[in-house]
Symmetry: C2
Subunit: 261 residues, 2 copies
């Protein structure tokens, strides 16, 4: 419109121009991680648009996961400090020693904790299908939220057929020293095979709440189904990994990586 000292930038709608401009400033370091953005009022003046338009531009960046709003202080460039999540570290040699625990050892020097809730529940369709349960069969759900330095780090929910684990340590809401898989093995259900699925999606409101996720944070949804020698599924573990706190890393050997043609 009839602006005066109004900042002129690229093409497209106003909100696109503004978000593109700010995104560029974030990319080139003009706005460094952790830096505070101008206030909505300042941006309103700077670009010569109304506050609603400025907010629309900022919403774009919020939903891209680039900035966060810390009300009523202002908007800040988001800082990422992902932890490494190693699927192969989830394979631990026997005999088990507590020092080998994947969760504890991956993050030495920080302060790991976890909450555990155990319940008997009807399985979701997703779990029932993978455990090959018949209608009416119940499962034991061990729901955990793992924390690092007091911040939620990931969700790890495991499900077992109730018939298999009734009156075992798996049903107690506390850490299992030898690991739930050893308990299953001692019951005659040693797992020799696992199928992993990894989905990438936006979190549900429930996941946002449990993991205290900022808007614009996608998640990795990792479903691991464990089978016995006989092919019986005995355990489904679902891990929810916030995209801003994880890198999933693994190593392969001896064969030629393809990915090419």
């Amino acid at each position: 419109m009839g602006g005066m000292a109004v900042k002129k930038v690229g093409r497209g709608t106003y909100k696109q121009q503004i978000s593109d401009d700010l995104r560029q400033q974030i990319a080139d370091g003009t706005l460094a991680p952790g830096a505070k953005l101008p206030t909505e009022a300042q941006l309103t003046d700077e670009y010569g648009v109304t506050r609603g338009t400025v907010r629309a531009a900022l919403d774009i960046l919020v939903n891209e996961g680039l900035i966060v709003s810390k009300r009523p202080v202002g908007y800040f460039v988001r800082e990422r400090k992902p932890m490494v999540f190693r699927p192969q570290a989830e394979f631990r040699p026997r005999p088990y020693t507590p020092e080998m625990d994947a969760f504890m050892t991956e993050h030495q020097g920080r302060d790991p904790e976890q909450t555990i809730e155990v319940s008997i529940a009807e399985p979701t369709a997703e779990v029932a299908k993978r455990l090959q349960l018949k209608a009416g069969q119940l499962v034991v759900a061990r729901r955990r939220v793992r924390y690092l330095d007091g911040e939620p780090f990931n969700i790890n929910d495991s499900f077992f057929p109730l018939d298999l684990v009734r009156d075992t340590p798996i049903m107690r809401p506390e850490s299992i020293a030898e690991g739930a898989n050893e308990v299953l093995a001692s019951l005659g259900y040693r797992q020799v095979r696992a199928i992993d699925e990894l989905y990438v999606r936006m979190p549900t409101p429930d996941e946002v709440r449990r993991l205290e996720l900022a808007p614009g944070t996608p998640i990795g949804y990792h479903v691991c189904t464990g089978y016995t020698e006989e092919g019986k599924p005995v355990r489904v573990a679902i891990t929810v990994l916030p995209g801003d706190r994880h890198v999933i890393s693994y190593e392969r050997r001896r064969e030629t990586p393809a990915d090419e043609s």
Copy 2:
């Protein structure tokens, strides 16, 4: 406000109530995948708020990836039909046969295509670090977009040190029958080890454009670095996997899956 036949729902702000209500209808099947939502005008009447508030509620669902807007027709419940992406399928046995190509074989019955662009470029910091390049060293970039039934399916960009692949088939913008890794191997750079990293994040505007992503679609960002026997990195492959088109699936054997304690 002083509404009349206004739909009353839960707690929170109006936009939260409205988006919660619609999300529930999507979850319980009242609004099935592919179904058309009421128009903004209808929702405005139904909930007794202004159009701006209705749009704020719909924006929440769009950014959760639950609905898409098909202008100027209306909003629709999003349908997901993910393809399976198997990292282990990326290991192919030698001798290579075209029928084994991971991309082709995983999707039989559909119509795969790809575009290839090859350029000599300065590496990004990300690539330079993984290839252990010195300042000024250039790379060959092979950028591909893979399509299935005419729809973009994923991005696969590979980077090679220019010194290694000058005047080889890798520099031609066309399919390499035997695979780029075989070319590298024949040059004396057979890869025996790979390190994989998988990040989960929202796409950049460039990725949105190349993959024609709907808003609210997160991506998996897969970086694979291949090393020779001597530990020299010779190739970085970056695959961008739209969350709405992929399930990453793999299988493990012989060891006990942990994920438990």
